[in-house]
Amino acid sequence: MDSFTLFQDVVLLYVTGAVLGLFSRNTCLTRTLTFVPSVVASALLVVFSSSVIMSGKSLQIVAPGVLSFFNFEILIDGISAFFILIIGIISFAVSLYSIGYSKEYEIKKRTPTLVFLFNIFILSMVLVVASNNAFFFLVFWELMSLVSFLLVIYDHDKEENLRSGITYLIMTHFGTAFIFASFLLGYIQTGSFSFDSFRHSSTGFPLFVKNLVFIFAFIGFGTKAGMVPLHVWLPKAHSSAPSNISALMSPVMIKIGIYGMIRTIFDFSGFGISPDFAWWGMLLIVFGSASAIIGVLYAVVERDIKRALAFSSIENIGIILIGLGLSIVFTSFQLTAFAILALVASMYHTINHAVFKGLLFMGAGSVVSVTHTKNIEHLGGLVKQMPWTSLLFLIGAISISGLPPFNGFISEWFTLQSLLSSYHIPSTILQISIAFASLPFALTIGIAAATFVKLFGMTFLSKTRNKHAINIKEVSRSMILGMSILAATCVLFGIMPYLGTSLISTAFHLPSQPPSPFVSISIQNSSGKSFANISMPVVVIMLLSVSIAIFGFIRVLGGTTKKTTYGTWDCGFGSLTERMEYTPTSFSQPIRAVFKVFFKPHNHTEKESFGENPYLLKTVKIETMVKNVFEEILYESIISSFVFFFDKVRRLQTGKINAYLLYIMITLVLLLLFVRLSNNA
């Protein structure tokens, strides 16, 4: 099968899935069946994109005159194929997972709609990445945004979800407006909406147009990617959507924002080797490091498991943006070797984040589907009842913390290496700024680990704090299978980083890395001297063999000893209850205390005591809240200024006919004046 037919089949299968979903009845069998097309289509997507990457031949389709003014153009080159591969991997796992997961919505009889929207959502993301024409790009972009909006408010019984939906709808259109502006600039310069014409003539744009194209694309795609301070929609939308949708939105959809940024910057903006463009990279680094640290700080104090994961997506987008920004800075100073390193770091983190965040969202979804609460204050002790989910979630948690031997380690290591290569940049100001950017990045790595220790530990370990959590069972097999696929990918990309780097360098046509998977990855500077290396396969073999050796060694040293299981020491109180446990809030309290300038925590204590003595307490009620600086200060002021402005505008609408006649009169006079004056000129 050639790649064109394959692509057609994929599109047809998703459409079939959507139609099937729409017309099927709500039974267990059809629920399974309706997800089959998307499972197959996603698998084909993986095959298709990897064949495009490996063969190096891009797929181009032009259907002229579909609409009178625009050609329908599709171009899937290495970059598109790389992002389609991400979509394919994640949606394959998520489709499998959805078979079991959608059972939760069976009672509400809404699975058909879910299946329909699910398929259209994946298809729209594929088509956005594949489009080669600004008009169709925007059409599919809008389709993606609207379908995802419908999915966010899928659970529309809860008012909270509707609010999240509205925030999302407004923010995503704010972004789309800027993307539109960016493309319009290209149209004004070239007279065509085809990306090909942007590509060919963009180097000839005047510098200020190039800068404007970049700025608009940066804001527009940055909104979709969830960059601070345009991130407010992300935690709301991702926690309101059904978990299988969150597992698509957070790993994949926000990456489409990254795709748009890469496409615009490297393809259409006339970017080239010149220090004039260094500030683009710096802008990305500044916003990237701000996103990283702010995202992780909110994640660590968050009590809602899905919101915490969503905040951590903001953090990871920050890391991706830092890599991308460094790559731009290096390119603009013609430090090609480091530019490649930084780009590989950024893209490696893109695919890694997709994989482990998909895994974590599915894990969180499993927990929510059995316990019916997203609040980790009420979870805990699930490891006994849900051993598989716990194990898979743990793999995701260690991966996202950037610890060896999983995949997050590799991409964070690459990003660190590209950060510390910044001393090659021939500008002290830039060097110092990047040094300052490495500070929040280093902090992010540390706090991310604390975040996921807390999320995993407080959800799966310690004692059960939920009375509903006693009779729960492990989730269904298809859900575990879906998660295992992504967990296996985490391990694979961790112990064989060669796989990832060669994938990226082939897709982006970069000079490749060492030939064998067992050779260590070494990073070379411009003179060809290697300055850093790791060899993950050997590290993993060492870890495994040494730990087995240690086990035997300890056995030899100490002989066989008894193992007893016994209750923990309760200070003689009798039984310890879950109310005496360390809670997630108390767990992250030290970090909240350190960053209190940022969090502005609001603590409120109410005490009720027996009689006069203030020390004999009947009840104590402590309320603690963290302020969301962005929403409360930045957005509130914008919203209130809008309200103020339109309040003033409203005064024009008096409701009296005389006033309206006056308006018409004034307008008429003004228009006549205008015509008169312009005729004279």
Binding site: K384, I432, F531, A532, V539, L543, S547, T565, Y582, I591
Partner: protein, 323 residues
């Protein structure tokens, strides 16, 4: 004996040094402390006696904890051993496994060991261990970035984050050794060692709820698993101190010969260097008061800022004093 075999033997000597010399350093610290407090104190070999006794004792596992509780000490121990393969302890030249990880990889490997022990502490399901886990997670969240910043600073001086290259560069160039970047890095690293090894003014080792961190984490461990956790702690202390000495502070007096005698000579000099460092650490521990728990975070923040300053001074002052 050919070169390859010699290197393998040196490798074993290096791992053996870390494993078997580390309890001695802990013993010496305890003895010195006791002597300053005008007590007789335990023998310097006490940690060995403790370990051998604990290894033979039965293990009590808290009910309702999962297998993570049992596996975690093994993982941490292994991580420390893997780190001991890749850092300059007995040789100034890289050993066969030296290419496994660089300094940043090593820093994240330390992170893995720490995180696994924190997760295990939550799994122990008592409030003391949860408290230890909470404190430890919060302090690690600042200590880990400090370590990374230190290594970034070093990498910027030398153009590589390979510890062996750093060692060679610093031992051969007085201007680098005396540069403000290097001095700041040393101070930051020293503060970090105090934090990571649980020394005053950060942490008074022992079971006092107000300040306990590491001891709280392992409070539910017993028998073999306790021995492993303790031993892992000794190794971590030894590794950090050796990296500090051999890479940053005293990069000299390591035998460059590729031979067993050369390696043994380096073990001897390392021991002497360690004695000096241990003396300094004990004096600090005996003369400083313990910081309040949340002041530790300020302490870490200072170390973190020093590491950042060292990077900045590299760009501002220029590379070294003379060149």
């Amino acid at each position: 004996m050919n070169n390859e075999q010699t290197l393998q033997i040196i490798n074993i000597i290096q791992v053996g040094t870390v494993m078997f010399l580390s309890p001695l350093i802990a013993g010496i610290i305890n003895r010195l402390k006791a002597m300053i407090e005008s007590k007789h104190g335990p023998s310097i070999f006490q940690p060995y006696y403790d370990l051998s006794k604990l290894l033979k004792k039965e293990v009590v596992v808290p009910e309702r904890s999962s297998s993570i509780f049992i596996i975690a000490p093994f993982i941490s121990f292994t991580a420390y051993l893997v780190i001991s393969l890749v850092v300059p302890i007995v040789t100034p030249y890289p050993l066969p496994y030296g290419i496994l990880l660089d300094l940043l990889g090593g820093a994240l490997m330390f992170g893995l060991a720490g995180i696994v022990s924190i997760i295990a502490a939550i799994d122990a399901r008592t409030n003391y261990s949860a408290m230890g886990a909470s404190r430890s997670a919060s302090f690690t969240a600042l200590a880990e970035p400090t370590l990374i910043m230190i290594f970034i600073a070093v990498a910027m001086i030398t153009g590589t984050d390979n510890p062996y290259v750093t060692n060679n560069l610093l031992s051969g160039s007085a201007s680098w050794y005396l540069s403000s970047t290097h001095v700041l890095v040393m101070v930051a690293f020293f503060m970090l060692i105090l934090v990571e090894t649980g020394r005053l003014p950060v942490e008074s080792s022992g079971l006092v709820e107000f300040g306990m961190i590491d001891d709280a984490k392992i409070i539910e461990y017993s028998g073999k698993l306790l021995a492993l956790s303790r031993w892992g702690g000794y190794m971590k202390q030894f590794l950090l101190m050796s990296i500090f000495l051999n890479v940053f502070v005293i990069p000299w007096w390591m035998s460059g010969d590729v031979s067993v005698t050369g390696a043994l000579y380096s073990v001897g000099t390392l021991f002497l260097k360690l004695l000096v460092l241990v003396g300094v650490v004990v004096i600090i521990e005996e003369t400083f008061a313990k910081l309040r728990l949340f002041k530790i975070l300020d302490f870490l923040a200072i170390a973190f800022s020093l590491a950042l300053l060292s990077v900045l001074s590299l760009f501002l002052v220029g590379k070294g004093i003379t060149n």
